[in-house]
């Protein structure tokens, strides 16, 4: 019993503590990453100050800009949340990408097929179908992990490519827009389009509400407690009578549903259709965002807004300063490296570099 008591205490501590030190690390990481990237921009012969000014002015400088930023942040909040839920259960879901893609294709199908439904039914139906397909894709990895002991990192990354191939096939065959040269699905019915409130996208509020809900579930409910306990100590969880296998599968299902919802919102609110090879990096951005937010469901929101803003401003930055928009990918990689590097985490001593995931076999 002592094992489970320790786990209970640890879980309580981690969901309640909101101390300053651990929130300084992400800020320092972002600043250092930007300085390092500035050196690279300088080496390429551009002016880093012009580049950064342009990047952030577009993203946060006006109400319209902020609307675009929040729109770009929405799938990032959700893919970050998907990764975070997985990590809480000790699972490293790096397949948010594939789950997101399947969600966005499924939502595009639902948006086209159920034409004629009123908007207040059509939108939720399409969102739920998107989440459902995302959750199926993740569920495959969950089942393989729980019952065959196959590590989720490999299956999720393989499923990313499989989903992409199948989605490409569907978008160029049975779901293809008729009489069109481009391979893409038809535009969804107007009743399925997510409304924009003023200049703020509705999808962003759905994402934030979901983040709060997940935070509440993890910290305050029995199912959340099961997930946290399995994530912290599988053996203690088993000893306490929690079914580790079922918890692993359900955590993956929830994680995939969140990512799938992210894809569905992207389709219903931004692209209005599915086209192959769009939004390629979103799932991987989720990893950086989850770790930048210290794997805290609400903590990921600021990181997602920051990175969404960079994505929103990248095109203008290229126009103003000639710096390639892929700068954002580079910044994200540097941020990820720094936010996890114990060099800074030790400097702010309170955070430990405990192992979140485990090796292949368990």
């Amino acid at each position: 019993m002592s094992d489970t008591k320790i786990v209970t205490k640890e879980v309580e501590k981690s969901t309640k503590s909101f101390d300053v030190g651990s929130w300084l690390i992400p800020i320092v990481a972002v600043l250092v990453a930007m300085s390092l990237a500035a050196i690279l921009i300088k080496l390429q012969g551009s002016n880093p100050i012009t580049a950064y000014k342009s990047l952030f002015k577009t993203a946060f400088g006006s109400v319209e800009g902020l609307g675009i930023t929040l729109g770009k942040s929405t799938p990032l909040v959700l893919s970050g949340l998907a990764v975070a839920v997985g990590l809480r259960a000790g699972l490293f879901n790096i397949g948010a990408q594939g789950q997101l893609l399947s969600g966005s294709l499924a939502a595009a199908w639902a948006g086209v097929t159920f034409d004629g439904l009123p908007g207040f039914i059509h939108i939720p139906v399409a969102l739920i179908i998107g989440a459902f397909f995302g959750s199926i894709v993740a569920g495959i990895s969950g089942l393989l992990k729980a019952y065959r002991g196959v590590h989720e990192v490999i299956t999720t990354i393989m499923l990313n490519s499989i989903v992409m191939g199948v989605a490409d096939y569907l978008a160029s065959h049975s779901l293809r827009e008729p009489d069109q040269f481009l391979t893409r699905t038809s535009e969804i019915a107007p009743s399925a389009k997510l409304p924009i409130l003023g200049s703020l996208p509705l999808g962003f509020f759905i994402a934030v509400i979901l983040a709060v809900l997940i935070w509440w579930i993890l910290g305050r409910t029995t199912s959340g407690f099961r997930i946290e306990t399995v994530g912290r100590n599988r053996h203690a969880a088993w000893y306490a009578g929690i079914s580790v296998k079922r918890t692993v599968v359900s955590a993956m299902l929830v994680s995939g549903a969140i990512a799938g919802l992210g894809g569905a919102i992207e389709t219903l609110g931004v692209t209005y259709r599915y086209a192959p090879a769009f939004n390629l990096g979103l799932g991987f951005d989720g990893i950086t965002i989850a770790l930048l937010g210290r794997v805290h469901p609400i903590g990921i929101i600021p990181g997602a807004i920051l990175i969404g803003g960079m994505r929103a401003g990248a095109a203008n930055m290229q126009f103003d300063s000639g710096v390639a928009p892929e700068l954002v990918d580079l910044l994200m990689a540097l941020i990820l490296l720094l936010v996890t590097a114990p060099l800074i985490t030790r400097f702010f001593k309170n955070s430990s570099n405990k192992t979140i995931t485990s090796g292949w076999s368990n």
Partner: protein
Amino acid sequence: MNLLTKRNSYFLLVALVTAFFYSRDASITTSVYATGTAFALPLALAAMVGIMCERTGIVNIGIEGTMLMSAFVAFFVAYITQNILIGLAAAIATGSLMGFLLALMAVSWRMDQIIAGTILNILATGLTSFLYVQGKTIPSVFSAFEVPLLSKIPFFGPVLFIHGALTFLGLAIILALYVAIYHTSWGLRSRAVGEHPSSADTAGVSVVRLRYINVTIAGAIGAIAGAYLSLELVGSFERGFVAGKGFTALALMIFGRWNPLGALAAALFFGLAQAYANQLMIDQVVNIPSQFTSILPYVMTIVVLAISAGKVRAPAAEGQPYEKGQS
């Protein structure tokens, strides 16, 4: 000595199937097998990276990033210097550096090894896509040459002995690693560190030093796999060029039971399956959409893991940071 072991019966089956296809159409079978070998090599080499790291207890999920980064460096250094040998050398230096970085994170900083590897992957994607420039070409590739005499052997000659220099280098590394792991003191020490580091430590093996050395050398091998892609097999570089081969390699490593020859056999099986699928498409024997042949290796990876996981045993100390004095 029992000649009818399970392993030998697999070999016999493969030989019979090959002989059957060869008797029906010799030239196409030969070319499919040659293509299959070319597809298999980067997978097999990448699996060697995994084996070298995991035998000493370090999980390396950053093989993909190591290959991507070194394929990139190989190509662009070869473009800038107009010399593919300098490109190869620069790639090996880059790969070693990536390996060293992983060792730094996993051994010294005792970070979660899966996250450390993911950092390598994301770092490689970020750097290569930011620095990538379109439309550059390299002066030459490591082009295929015929090994005298050996290449004249029917079937085996064209399949194994008409390749570029990096293929031969890669095959030599795989054979050398097999010998080194099972028949040298270095191999024994590495395996001991991967199974029970504190015992190895007691016996006078420096766990930290051996892990650093092995993971760094493994990075260099990953670099050769990456350079093979950009300087020999394809001759160019695109964003996202490695396309999951580094992850497939990990599945091959598990399927091959952390044994270099086992992983090589698994990689050849994968390469051949892909070459056959391509050939079926070209011949229009069956009408498979191209999307489905392209996902074939990924589906196979999952199936192979679902079958073999649980039946194989990973090195015992894998994934755990080592602290002196722990039991």
